[in-house]
């Protein structure tokens, strides 16, 4: 029987290196999972009945401004802004920034929320593209809509920050439907120590139609039946419950997602707001804050919630998915390369010694190893170095290792929310091992494409088309 590693051949060496890379990756994921389990257990154990009620009814609860940039979000804009206004929180306002949409996003908002133009003299703390008109809602006094010239998401967020009145701001995506408890969950963490907690993010569920994914209590509950969306949902679950919770525990939470990111406003002002120099703003801002606070030796925390705070639209077409993921790969590479001085630098603590190397291992170099593995396996078959049984067993082992990580993530989420129906849980568990064959190849391709575009210095957004809604 032929072996897995053909001796003394170039292909053998490539396979050996790729195999070691695989082991290192699983070791990193396994370690983070163990840390995440400890963190979730602590969070679950420390939560007390009535705490939310106290925070909700207190006049001392810190008010928040929700800032939502919208660009061509007509199909979902009214529902998403409606969900922002429906959050269960004592004092908040909503600043929606229409980033020069070319569809009828603004018209729909005007109609739905009875917007009327107002004259408002605002504070220009951050540079942003010119504002065309400012609207206030007649029906919702805490809603402000700012129509501006197109300048991208970071520019729109900065524009929104110019209108933010409160001490904390919550950046959300225009295609995100917030759960009713989202701000309460996020700010509950802030209130435990407002002096130290400068940022909070939370898990976002995926659906092809987020506006139909909340139950009557405003909590995410419905799993999209389409496999492509279910796989994306699992991807997000792994990313939040296996990784971000662990990062939080180790104080190296390196990516607050754009769909839900709470920040202390004075901290944003200190670092100059969101950067327009990168393809995407969220991960870069998180890296920048870590870099600054660690360098200056300041005591701080950026946390990830163990709660699902909303539902965002996942692409329901393969082409759109690849477009989205290649952009993510580019922005990760842009950010990690830009902040490469933090890697393995003890001055940056766990961020430098564990966080950045983790990103390098699992994100930056991954496309190269994935490509090398694929070529080596093909060459192995061509030269007769591999046999089908060995390759099949390897595939089964990797598929079920992924299945274990996925099931662990589902378990961590379910123990927090108890929101899934048992049937959905079973489906998610069964989809776990299939991820390797049916979903991972798309991501591998997208990451390779993103890496290629990064090397070509492409910084375009390449926004995917909205999913088609049926009645």
């Amino acid at each position: 029987m032929n072996g897995l590693l053909p001796p003394s051949s170039a292909v053998g060496w490539v396979v050996a290196v790729c195999f070691l890379y695989l082991l290192a990756t699983y070791a990193a994921y396994g370690f983070l999972l163990a840390v995440s389990v400890a963190e979730r257990k602590m969070r679950g154990g420390s939560r007390r009945e009535g705490e939310d009620e106290r925070v909700r009814s207190s006049s001392l609860t810190i008010p928040v401004t929700i800032v939502a940039p919208l660009y061509n979000e007509a199909p979902i804009a009214v529902d998403s802004v409606g969900s922002f206004l429906a959050v269960d929180y004592p004092q908040f306002d909503v600043v929606v920034v229409n980033d020069g949409s070319t569809d009828d996003t603004l018209e729909r908002l005007r109609e739905a929320f009875a917007l009327e133009p107002v004259e408002l003299f605002y504070r220009r703390t951050y540079d942003a593209k010119p504002v065309r008109t400012i609207y206030r809602s007649r029906t919702n006094p805490n809603l402000l809509v700012v129509d501006k010239v197109n300048g991208g998401k970071a520019d729109s967020l900065n524009c929104g920050l110019n209108f933010a009145r409160y001490r904390y701001v919550c950046g959300v995506d225009g295609d995100t439907i917030l759960a009713r408890r989202s701000l309460l969950d996020g700010m509950r963490l802030v209130l435990t120590d407002p002096g130290r907690v400068i940022g909070v993010t939370g898990h976002i569920a995926i659906s092809g139609k987020p506006e139909a994914s909340l139950n009557e209590d405003g909590a995410p509950c419905r799993l999209d039946p389409r496999p492509l969306l279910a796989f994306q949902h699992l991807d997000y679950l792994r990313s939040f419950f296996n990784n971000r919770l662990g990062w939080t525990r180790l104080n190296m939470m390196l990516c607050a997602v754009g769909a839900f990111q709470i920040w202390r406003r004075d901290v944003l002002e200190e670092v100059g707001g969101f950067s327009t120099d990168f393809t995407c703003e969220d991960i870069e801002l998180t890296f920048r804050l870590h870099e600054r606070f660690r360098r200056e030796g300041r005591d701080y925390e950026i946390l990830s919630l163990a709660d699902t705070v909303g539902v965002t639209e996942g692409p329901d077409r393969i082409r759109s998915l690849i477009s989205q993921r290649e952009r993510w790969q580019r922005v990760i590479m842009e950010t990690v390369v830009h902040y490469r001085r933090m890697a393995f630098n003890p001055r940056y603590g766990t961020v430098g010694l564990l966080g950045v190397p983790f990103f390098v291992l699992t994100e930056v170099v991954a496309p190269f190893f994935e490509l090398a593995s694929l070529l080596a396996v093909l060459a192995g078959f061509a030269f007769g170095s591999f046999d089908v049984a060995t390759a099949g067993l390897m595939l089964v082992a990797i598929a079920f290792a992924n299945g274990i990580l996925t099931t662990a993530a589902v378990s961590l989420e379910d123990r927090t929310s108890r929101a899934y129906r048992p049937g959905d849980l079973a489906r998610l568990v069964l989809l776990g091992p299939l991820d390797l064959l049916l979903y991972r190849p798309l991501i591998v391709y997208a990451r390779a494409k993103g890496t290629w575009r990064f090397l070509r210095r492409d910084t375009g957004w390449h926004k995917f088309e909205r999913n088609v809604r049926t009645a």
Binding site: M1, L4, R48, E49, V118, E119, F121, R165, S411, A426
Partner: protein, 340 residues
Amino acid sequence: MGVSQFQLLVLLAVTLVLAWAFLGAFLLADRLLHDRGRARAAQDAAELAGDPDTARLLSRRRLRRLALGPPCEGAAVAARVLVRRRRASLRAAAERPRPPAARLHALTILVRGGDLRARRLLAAAVAGNDRAMTSALLRLAAELPETEGDELLLDVLVSGRHPRSRTATELEPRATRLRDELVELASVDDPELRYWAVSLLRASMDDPDVVDAVGRCAFDDHANVRAAAAEALGRAPATVARPLLRLLLRDDLFYVRAHAARAVAEAGREELAEELLPLLADGNWWVRAAAKESLAALGDSGLAVAVAALSHPDRFARDGALEVIGASGRLVDAGVAEVA
């Protein structure tokens, strides 16, 4: 790779498949048991509230689930039964710092079960300074009987071992009962403590002693304390509040002026609307914004001030006035047209 290595690979693959299957089955079973347990707990809580004697029929596990669930009569009965049956072991668990969740559970049962040592054990846990547990422990402290809970929470606030903002949130519903203690705290050396004391005294501004204490804080050396005093004074009787708010509206520090401006509107003090006019031309954006919001909220008196500000020599004041008039939704032809 020889046959033995192949067998190793088979073993690895089979192990991973079995581990996945076990984890999946565990997840589903855990969920089904949770759902069943929750339904049963609701039923048990209702039965126990109706007839506490049925507690003897329940297993320790069911009693524990009830005692740790939402606070209700059934939970209290279950906790009392558990304390009676397992007092020593619960106290021992409440004393052990690790694991923190087990300590918290034991403390919850002891507090809800009315154990005599619960307050002391909870105080020891709070003093342990475990950041992750702080919020839950403070919430639990709020479940202690009135006096014990008041004392413990006040101790925590004074000690400053935990973020005072979170402690103050728990103290807020008790603040009127604790007004004497808070009045004392409003004059201690620690400015942060004075700030929280004044903030909590907001709800007691009908008491002359409280008004006196807060009034003194309007002259505090620390701006945060003056800002808190401004907010509280909004609720004080007009004779006291008016001169002090006037003073705070002219404070050297911008956020004291901004807080004072908001306090004027929150308390609906129309007689002070005119005092907001100079703030429309303030050098600080936040003060101007607060003045605009307050004038807009003050209705006719605010609108009158805004119209008067249309002829103000300062451009910011005129802009602000336009905004207030725009927000009112009422046309003030003459003034607006003239400026336009």
